[in-house]
């Protein structure tokens, strides 16, 4: 028998086009996803050198970062408009398929890839976007790249990459009921910090991971980059195959069975070893809320805001002080006493149909707290349609939420969906960096359930007690 291997090594070995001493490997890229913000300069680069897109059939583009989520045909900002028109023009010129703002497939790039079945186990997938790690949930090797690399892949369908180091992120035990993938990944980053994954590809393993639905797995892999890892993945299993079956770009009938056999063989071998390992107990994980300005500055909802003197390894005393000041928070106060003005349910982390269903369950029959502006932004137009067919839009709007069209929206506030300076937002997105949701905006990352409960109460509450004690 050959040496036991991790899924990471297996995918890598299958994609090496050229190997040379003292050089990274030249690896083949199966799929490149493209969006409007990180691609214009890449297409321009091709044009200047008279190069073409090598494989338009392995390239797929959409518009998400910049698009308005309301009255979407009126784009007020001329520079945004130009950026979208540029993508349109580039896709026409280079014959790249595009789900533009009028297309029913339009949505956040990391939501639509899986939805359309473009994302599949064993593929190498890149996009000029750091949350490309999301696609790892399917057992794909998926990572974010810069615009120069986007251009390189457009022109050659390959990248020079050193083989990655591998890390097993082992999640022991099981999550308690009502604890979500978002709480788990936040707890992992809180425990090991924002740098532990740098230089590695993470594989999430363990019973708690196996229990997760595909959409929850995407939430986990999505935030690998917040741990410093360009890619994070999960070996494919029945959950993966059931999700993929029948999707547009997935093989059908006998070919599907054949694909499943190949995909199953990708899973990490029992005896395989990793370059590193970290472990966490799922049983311990509580609903999480970030209090600071990076995702590791995160505590259980039952906890108090840390004091600078409590500085551990990942954040120094000065960093905590600075974060508290930016966030307008007082040390040692319970995080549940913090009131909010905004709630954002959306982003490539938490805007899929199951996220919206779970949030709607919390909201049903209740009313958004006075003084809170709450919005739901589905991850794709197709998620939006399904949600509407189930009446979720009514649940949200009747409670006082805004119900929007698909896009990145308030996750990075590049369009008009902005949190004003000094105001506070409970957000299901992935980055609580300074200014991320608007200059001076204060972001607290939470799960969709926790965001929904915060919208109703106007402050952070433990969604577990909330679900059992109706108000």
């Amino acid at each position: 028998m050959s040496k036991p291997k991790t899924i990471i090594d297996k995918i890598w070995d299958r994609h090496v086009v050229h190997k040379e001493e003292n050089k990274p490997d030249l690896i083949y890229i199966d799929l490149q996803l493209v969006h409007e913000v990180t691609s214009p300069q890449a297409f321009e680069g091709l044009r200047m050198k008279g190069r073409r897109v090598r494989r338009p059939d392995r390239t797929f583009a959409t518009m998400d970062h910049n698009v308005p989520t309301i009255a979407r045909h009126i784009i007020n900002d001329p520079i945004s408009k130009k950026q979208m028109e540029t993508l349109q023009k580039n896709c026409e010129e280079f014959e790249v398929p595009l789900a533009d703002i009028n297309h029913p497939d339009q949505g956040i790039v990391h939501v639509i890839g899986p939805e359309l079945g473009l994302t599949q186990p064993g593929k190498t997938i890149v996009c000029g976007d750091s949350h490309t790690s999301t696609h790892g949930a399917f057992g794909a090797l998926a990572f974010g790249i810069g615009t120069s690399e986007v251009e390189h892949v457009l022109a050659t369908q390959t990248l020079w990459q050193a083989p990655p180091k591998t890390m097993n992120v082992k999640v022991n035990g099981r999550l308690s009921p009502a604890i979500t993938a978002k709480d788990l990944i936040l707890a992992i980053i809180a425990k090991f910090g924002v740098r532990f994954g740098t230089g590695y590809v993470l594989e999430y393993t363990g019973e708690a991971i196996r229990d997760l639905s595909m959409e929850q797995r995407m939430t986990i892999c999505n935030m690998s980059i917040e741990a410093g890892a360009r890619a994070g993945l999960i070996s494919p299993d029945e959950t993966t195959f059931n999700y993929l079956k029948g999707r547009r770009h997935v093989p059908k009938d006998e070919e599907f069975d054949q694909a499943v056999a190949e995909w199953s063989a990708l899973a990490t071998d029992a005896e395989a070893t990793y370059d590193a390992m970290v472990e966490i107990d799922a049983n311990e994980v509580e609903p999480q809320v970030t209090w600071g300005t990076n995702p590791s500055m995160c505590i259980p909802v039952s906890a108090t805001i840390p004091a600078p003197e409590s500085a551990k390894t990942d954040a120094s005393k000065e960093e905590i002080e600075r974060a508290l000041e930016y966030m307008g928070l007082e040390a040692n106060k319970p995080i549940s006493s913090v009131t909010i003005e905004h709630v954002f349910i959306g982003s490539c982390t938490n805007s899929r149909i199951s996220d919206l269903r779970r949030a709607a369950k919390v909201v049903e029959g209740k009313t958004v707290h006075t003084g809170v502006r709450a919005m739901v932004v589905p991850g794709s137009q197709s998620v939006k349609l399904v949600a509407e067919s189930e009446g979720l839009d009514k649940v949200f709007t009747e409670a006082g939420f805004e119900w929007r069209d698909a896009g990145c929206s308030m996750c990075l506030a590049m369009n008009d969906d902005i949190v004003p300076p000094g105001e506070r937002c409970a957000s299901t997105s992935n980055r609580n960096f300074e200014g991320r949701q608007g200059n001076g905006a204060r972001t607290h990352l939470v799960s969709p359930e926790m965001a929904a409960a915060a919208a109703i109460e106007g402050r952070f509450v433990d969604v577990r007690t909330y679900l059992t004690t109706p108000v």
Binding site: R51, G144, T156, Q157, T158, R195, T198, L412, N439
Partner: protein, 194 residues
Amino acid sequence: MEPIRKHKGLVYPINRSNIDTDQIIPKQFLKRIERQGFGQFLFYNWRFDDDGNERSDFSLNDTKYDGASILVAGENFGCGSSREHAPWALQDYGFKVIIASSFADIFYNNCVKNGILPIQLTEEQTSELVKKAEGEPFTLSVDLENQVVFDDAGFEASFEIINYLREMLLNGWDEIAVTLTHEDKISTFENTKA
């Protein structure tokens, strides 16, 4: 891409860790479709107040750092978003070398692809450089061929960089052109395995 072999320049220190690309170039400036002209927006929210006036409490606005071409920072520099606008902004502002005690992976690559030299030193070394540069105007020399950084007062540190990236920086390669010399292999791969 401009080759870089040796460089001597004024050092700008920024004594923070986890400086993310949202800070290096905030999202409102990512809408431009050109590669040039991002320097004016570098560290925008730290450099300017809400009315667009320079903030006196941010050191890059201090005239003693005018013309700085080497930036020194703490750990995990360039984390977060993959936006290449971050190295474009740094380069357009005038930075040619970034020294940090560690870098985020995507940012590191993005620097090299644009001819910016990212240098990883130990935390001790970056702290020493930060301290020196916070005082009198401080210049540093970088020699990529010999993989060493030094000043006129006895500081010297060697650094690692993988050979391929070093060659690329030294020669200012067009990486796509290099790759296309392997066109036959890519085609064979596509015909047999992809």
